[in-house]
C-alpha cells in the first residue's frame, strides 16, 4: 500500500479488544447483580465471568506489549479469535441460564 501506517491500525485493534473486554466485564457485573441474595449459582457465574474478563483484558495488553508496533498481528491468528468467540459463547450460555432462572 502507498501510505504506510504502522502505528494506528494495531492500536485501534487493541482498543477494539479492550472495548470487547469491557463488554465482558459489564456482563459479569450484571450477572453478579442478578444473582445477589437470590441465587448463589448466578453470583458464582458472575464472579467466573468477571475473572475471565479481567484475564482477557490483561492478556490482550500483554500480547500487544510483547509484539510492539507490527503488533496485533499476533492476535489475528485463528485460534485467538476462536478463543474469544468461545469465551463470549460461554458467557452467553451463563446469561441464558440467568435469564431463565431469574
Amino acid at each position: 500500500m502507498s501510505t504506510p501506517d504502522p502505528g494506528r491500525q494495531p492500536e485501534r485493534t487493541l482498543l477494539a479488544w479492550r472495548r470487547t473486554a469491557l463488554g465482558l466485564i459489564a456482563n459479569g457485573t450484571l450477572l453478579l447483580v442478578s444473582g445477589h441474595g437470590s441465587s448463589q449459582v448466578r453470583t458464582g457465574l458472575g464472579i467466573v465471568v468477571l475473572v475471565l474478563s479481567l484475564g482477557c483484558w490483561t492478556a490482550v495488553g500483554a500480547v500487544y506489549r510483547r509484539s510492539k508496533g507490527g503488533a496485533v498481528h499476533a492476535l489475528g491468528h485463528d485460534h485467538v479469535l476462536r478463543v474469544a468467540a468461545g469465551l463470549v459463547l460461554v458467557v452467553g450460555l451463563f446469561d441464558l441460564y440467568a435469564v431463565i432462572t431469574r
Binding site: 500500500m1 501506517d5 491500525q9 494495531p10 485501534r12 485493534t13 477494539a16 479488544w17 472495548r19 470487547t20 463488554g23 465482558l24 459489564a26 456482563n27 450484571l30 450477572l31 447483580v33 442478578s34 507490527g70 496485533v72 498481528h73 492476535l75 489475528g76 479469535l81 476462536r82 474469544a84 468467540a85 463470549v88 459463547l89 458467557v91 452467553g92 450460555l93 446469561d95 441464558l96 440467568a98 435469564v99 431463565i100 431469574r102
Partner: protein
C-alpha cells in the same frame, strides 16, 4: 483468482475489528437481556420480561457464531482478492432488535 495471498495487514486488522464489533454487539444483547429480567416490571408474572431476555440472549449467541463465520469468509475472500460475501447477519440482527424494542414498548404502554 483462487491463488491465496497474504493480504495487506490493514485489511486483516479491519476484518478483525469488524468481528470484535459483532462480539460487542452480542455482549450488548446479553446485557440488555439480563437487564430486562432484572429491571423490567411488565406484569404480575415475570414471563414477558423473561421472554424478551431469552430472545435477546439467544440473538447474542447467534451473533457470536455468525460473527466468527463471517470473519472467516471475509478473510478467505480478501486472500483470494474476490468480493466480500453477502451476509444476512446485520439484517437479522436489526430486525430482531427492532421487534424486541417494539414489543417492549407495547408492553410498557399497555401496562
Amino acid at each position: 483468482m483462487s491463488e491465496e495471498q497474504e493480504p495487506d495487514y490493514r485489511f486483516t486488522l479491519a476484518n478483525e475489528r469488524t468481528y470484535l464489533a459483532y462480539l460487542r454487539t452480542s455482549l450488548a444483547c446479553y446485557a440488555g437481556g439480563l437487564s430486562a429480567v432484572q429491571f423490567l416490571d411488565l406484569g404480575p408474572d415475570r414471563w414477558p420480561a423473561r421472554i424478551i431476555g431469552i430472545v435477546l440472549v439467544l440473538t447474542g449467541i447467534v451473533t457470536t457464531a455468525g460473527a466468527f463465520r463471517r470473519w472467516q469468509l471475509n478473510l478467505t475472500a480478501i486472500r483470494r482478492g474476490g468480493a466480500l460475501p453477502a451476509s444476512r447477519l446485520p439484517l437479522m440482527l436489526g430486525a430482531t432488535i427492532a421487534t424486541v424494542g417494539l414489543i417492549g414498548l407495547l408492553f410498557s404502554l399497555w401496562r
